[in-house]
Each structure stands twice: as structure tokens, then as C-alpha cells.
């Protein structure tokens, strides 16, 4: 009997385990190509700095040089097509937009990878998401993924692979694709993965630090379920408090009064995100009584934003511009919400207490909606502030 076809996820895990083929449910010990830890999941400070030096670990990023792992790794070409990547952070699934298997693990898992170069995995079932047509004007990849999570729920892909495909993706740039795979974990998924195409190839040119080999799913690969969406019908939207699957079209929540707007995180604070926010904020002011906090997701993003004059726009608008880091997103620092405060955030998660007080309310949105809402002080469609997103920025 001919071997059954495999999905991209199955092929990468099979290769890592040195096997011809694998099926969902198989338990494997597989070789890891790249592993990541950060200062909440590995010991911060001198211990890790010295360990990295002693072990010859080349990619050690100090604050002021790195930023948020999920921006730093792709922008430095460290996570590549066909690879098996793990990170001690739940949003490590982000890298899958670059056609690799990438998943979040715990600290003990990471210690195992450092000791053996291998880790145990259960081969996930794959769910296929097909996006037909193109997203409409103003609607971003963030809106699409919030909509999808709203449809399947925060456990809709629990422990499974989310394979994204379809015509709509062709028009979605790599940074926005990373936003989509970033949120796979918000549907409970093990990984989010996309096909290799011209967009991937172009993004990796001059960036990839190693040779790589893309993977494709076989035509007879088996999917547990196939979901089809008409991307052109997806509306600009938000996730309402207090769960990422609480999707609502923007029209339903427009006018909601805000205390804080946060543009940041591994989800939506790359340079393209900041360009859209700056287009909305240019020559405008943050509404009285609103604090707008903008955190670039990497030091390179900050340098680019400086070059393009975006920081000047943000500062002139009355925004707080911070160092590149995790912070407000997880209620860590720089924008922790107080009791009863309402925040619109470009981040990924709005469970109770995520950004501070358990009784604070968090709405999730794309960066243009966030910027427009900072100008008016209430949740606002960006077209009410800006007639059209400038060509080359949308």
C-alpha cells in the first residue's frame, strides 16, 4: 500500500523524528532545528548571558538590541521554511507563517532541548482554513484571525495544527501573515502554518541565516476538518472583553469609551503596523483623557520608525513611545490597567486580568482602529479619521 499523504506539519515532524511518515496521535522524539527562550521563561540576567557565552550561543539579544522574540527571530532570518522550531513562549507559533513547524513549550521542555537537541511531540491533527477572495478595504489580517477565532472558539483548534491557505493570503504581506499565525494559540492550536510562496521567498532574501527547504502538503493529505471562508465578507472587528473569541463587528462596539489605547506586542507592532498607525495619527492629537502607548516590537523596528519619521508623528500626537519590549500586553509594566479601566489593544489576549486588574476591560483590534480610537477617545472606524489609507501602507 502506498504511504498516505502528509500535511506540512506531519512532514516536518516526520523528518525531525527520522521517520518516513507519521500519523496524528503518534508520539515522537524529534530533533529541534532552532529553540528560543526569553527572560520570563529562562533565568534573566547574568546567568543566561554567561551561559550563552560559555556554550557559544550566537543569538543572545540584550535589551536595546533585540526586542520581542517573535519579531526578532523572523526579522533576523533565524526561523526558516521546513524547520522544526520551539520557543519557551506560547506565541512561538508565530514563526509558522514562514512555512515551518513552530510551537510554544515550557521551561523544562527547553532545558530538555538544550540537553539533548530533541523533544517529545504528539503529532497533531490538522485543521485546514481556506480563505477565498480578498480582504476588503480597511480589513486587516488581524480582523480575519479574530473573526476565525470567533467562529471556532478559544479551544476550537486545541492541540491541533491550523494550516492557512487560499487566495486571500496571496495579498497579505509577511508581517500580517505573522499576525495570523501568532494568534493560533488563541484558538488553542499547537501551531499555525502557511505555504511557501513568492511573499515568503522575498521576505527571506538577504535575511535567511541558513539554507532552507520549503515543505508542501500532499494533495492526498488528511485533514480533520476543512473550514472555508469568504475573506471579502469579513468585517473590520474587535474581540470584546474578556476572551479572544468574543468577536464583534466594529459597528457593534463603535462609540465605546476608552481610558487607554495600546499599540504593541508580538501580534501587531511591526513596521507595517506602525506605518498604518502613523498614517492615522499624522497631524492629529490623542483625545484628552486617553493615554496612548506605542511599543515597537523590536529595536530594528524602532530604528526604521525613526528613519521614516513615524516616532515624530507619534510624539507630536501625544503618544508615549517606549523601548521595544513585552510590557502592557501581559500587565507587566508600562500601561498596566487599573480597576474598571477600558483599553483597546492591538495585542492577542484579553482574558480577565491579562493587562492588569481583573476588572479592567480589554478590546482587541488592528492598529489603524487603535490609532483612530486614540484620536476620538472612543472605539472608532479609521475611515472616520482618515479618508483613505495611503497607497503602499494599507
Amino acid at each position: 500500500m502506498a504511504p498516505m499523504g502528509m500535511t506540512m506539519t506531519e512532514k516536518i515532524l516526520a523528518r525531525g523524528a527520522g521517520r518516513e511518515s507519521v500519523r496524528p496521535g503518534d508520539l515522537l522524539l524529534a530533533k529541534v532545528d532552532f529553540a528560543m527562550g526569553h527572560d520570563l521563561t529562562i533565568p534573566p540576567g547574568r546567568l543566561t548571558r554567561e551561559f550563552s557565552r560559555d556554550m557559544g550561543i550566537k543569538w543572545y539579544f540584550e535589551v536595546g538590541q533585540g526586542g520581542i522574540c517573535h519579531t526578532v527571530l523572523p526579522e533576523n532570518g533565524l526561523v526558516l521554511p521546513g524547520e522544526l522550531v520551539v520557543g519557551a513562549d506560547s506565541h512561538s507559533c508565530t514563526y509558522g507563517a514562514l512555512n515551518n513547524f513552530a510551537t510554544g513549550i515550557g521551561s523544562t521542555d527547553l532545558a530538555c532541548v538544550l540537553a539533548l537537541g530533541e523533544l517529545w511531540f504528539r503529532v497533531p491533527e490538522t485543521l485546514k482554513f481556506v480563505y477565498h477572495n480578498r480582504l476588503s478595504e480597511w480589513v486587516e489580517a488581524k480582523d480575519l484571525i479574530l473573526y476565525v477565532i470567533g467562529q471556532i472558539g478559544v479551544d476550537g483548534a486545541r492541540s491541533k495544527a491550523m494550516e492557512h491557505t487560499g487566495e486571500a493570503l496571496r495579498y497579505i504581506d509577511m508581517e500580517a501573515r505573522l499576525t495570523m499565525t501568532n494568534m493560533a494559540i488563541e484558538a488553542g492550536a499547537k501551531n499555525g502554518i502557511m505555504e511557501f510562496d513568492e511573499v515568503t521567498k522575498e521576505y527571506l532574501e538577504g535575511r535567511a541565516k541558513r539554507p532552507y527547504k520549503p515543505v508542501t502538503s500532499d494533495p492526498d493529505a488528511e485533514y480533520e476538518k476543512v473550514f472555508e471562508f469568504d475573506a471579502s465578507k469579513v468585517e473590520l472587528g474587535v474581540a470584546k472583553p474578556m476572551s479572544p473569541d468574543n468577536y464583534a463587528p466594529l459597528s457593534e462596539v463603535a462609540g465605546t469609551r476608552l481610558d487607554q489605547v495600546f499599540i504593541g506586542s508580538c501580534t501587531n507592532s511591526r513596521i507595517t503596523d506602525l506605518r498604518r498607525a502613523a498614517a492615522v495619527l499624522e497631524n492629529r492629537k490623542v483625545a484628552p483623557g486617553i493615554r496612548l502607548i506605542i511599543t515597537p516590537s523590536s529595536h530594528q523596528v524602532a530604528i526604521q520608525a525613526e528613519k521614516e519619521g513615524l516616532i515624530r508623528t507619534f510624539l507630536a500626537a501625544g503618544a508615549a513611545w517606549t523601548t521595544a519590549t513585552c510590557g502592557a500586553c501581559l500587565g507587566g509594566h508600562m500601561g498596566v490597567l487599573g480597576e474598571g479601566e477600558v483599553c483597546l489593544s492591538t495585542t492577542n489576549r484579553n482574558f480577565p486580568g491579562r493587562m492588569g486588574h481583573p476588572k479592567a476591560q480589554v478590546y482587541l483590534s488592528n492598529p489603524a482602529v487603535a490609532a483612530a480610537s486614540a484620536v476620538t477617545g472612543v472605539i472608532t472606524h479609521p475611515r472616520e479619521v482618515l479618508a483613505k489609507m495611503p497607497v503602499g501602507i494599507a
Binding site: 520570563l40 513549550i105 521542555d109 539533548l116 486545541r158 488553542g188 486580568g353 491579562r354
Partner: protein, 180 residues
């Protein structure tokens, strides 16, 4: 640390999609990674459960709904629950990183939709970890937990991933020595 065969305790009931930021808000990780210290703040983020940790008696059992422990990869989530004195977590289903972290720590968890639905807060439970049988002494019911693959049971029995990795390293060294 090896697993006891039977665990007895009072049930504490939680809902669906309890995420790691509710189990142990990130801010506490900044001050301490000590299990007992984290345990004092376990479930602090669940609305209405702000003083929960102080009411737990050692050995009590936690019962969650579906997708228990979703959210971040921070291992301090199962660490905080164990630090609070909880001997075992039963849930309808677990989010995958919480699941991995618990197994890797050698901390017993059981998946049983039947138990998660039927058990009420305060029920006295007796759980046979080897058999995967949950007895509800208050209601006189009995529920079965889903069996884990052998590899995961082995990890649990030997105390988690660290002892397993040590054993692997020893074997690899021995192999290298015989080859050399």
C-alpha cells in the same frame, strides 16, 4: 518525587478556559519563582477567587472545565497550583502547554469530561492514579479518566522530564564510551 497511588481530597471547582494569567498573574513571576510563594497567589486572577489560596487544605483536588490552563507557556501556572497545596488537577480537557508542563514536572493531571461535569465544589474525592478511577465519596459516583500514552505515564512515574533527560544523557554517554 514519585506519585502516590491514591489521592484523597476535597474538590475545588473552576470553569471553562481558565487561562494561565488567571491561574497566576504574570506580575507575581517578577518577584519570586518559589513554589510556596507563588502558591499564595494561585487563582488570584479568577474573579471571585481572590482569597482562594488561603482556603486550600493540603491534598485538595482542583476540577476544571474545558481548555484548562490556556494562554501562556509559563510553567509557573502548574507550579503555583501545586504550591497552593493541590495534589491533582482533573479537567474536562487541558490546553496543550499546561498539559506538557504538568507532565514534565511529574505533576498528576487527569482528563475526564464525566468527572468535570458531575463533581461539585466541596465533594470528597478519592482518586486511584494508577487505575485512572475517580471516586466521588460525597455522591457515591465513580468516573473514569482517559488513559495517557505509556511515555507520558512513564514521565509522570519517574518524576518528570528532568530525571528522564538525565537518564537519556547517561545512556548516551555509556553508548559513546563503548563505541569509543
Amino acid at each position: 518525587m514519585t506519585l502516590p497511588k491514591v489521592v484523597r481530597g476535597r474538590a475545588w471547582k473552576f470553569g471553562d478556559n481558565v487561562d494561565t494569567d488567571q491561574i497566576i498573574p504574570a506580575k507575581y513571576a517578577i518577584y519570586s519563582l518559589d513554589e510556596k510563594e507563588l502558591g499564595k497567589h494561585a487563582m488570584d486572577g479568577v474573579p471571585g477567587r481572590e482569597t482562594w489560596a488561603s482556603q486550600v487544605s493540603p491534598g485538595d483536588i482542583m476540577v476544571g472545565g474545558s481548555n484548562f490552563g490556556c494562554g501562556s507557556s509559563r510553567e509557573i501556572a502548574p507550579v503555583a497550583i501545586r504550591g497552593a497545596g493541590i495534589s491533582l488537577v482533573i479537567a474536562d480537557s487541558f490546553a496543550r502547554i499546561f498539559f506538557r508542563n504538568a507532565i514534565n514536572m511529574g505533576y498528576p493531571i487527569l482528563q475526564s469530561p464525566q468527572a468535570a461535569e458531575a463533581i461539585e465544589e466541596g465533594d470528597e474525592l478519592e482518586v486511584d492514579l494508577e487505575e485512572g478511577v475517580i471516586r466521588n465519596m460525597t455522591k457515591g459516583d465513580e468516573y473514569r479518566a482517559e488513559a495517557f500514552p505509556k511515555f507520558m505515564n512513564d514521565l509522570l512515574k519517574m518524576g518528570g522530564l528532568v530525571p528522564w533527560v538525565r537518564k537519556q544523557l547517561e545512556e548516551r554517554r555509556r553508548l559513546a564510551a563503548t563505541r569509543g
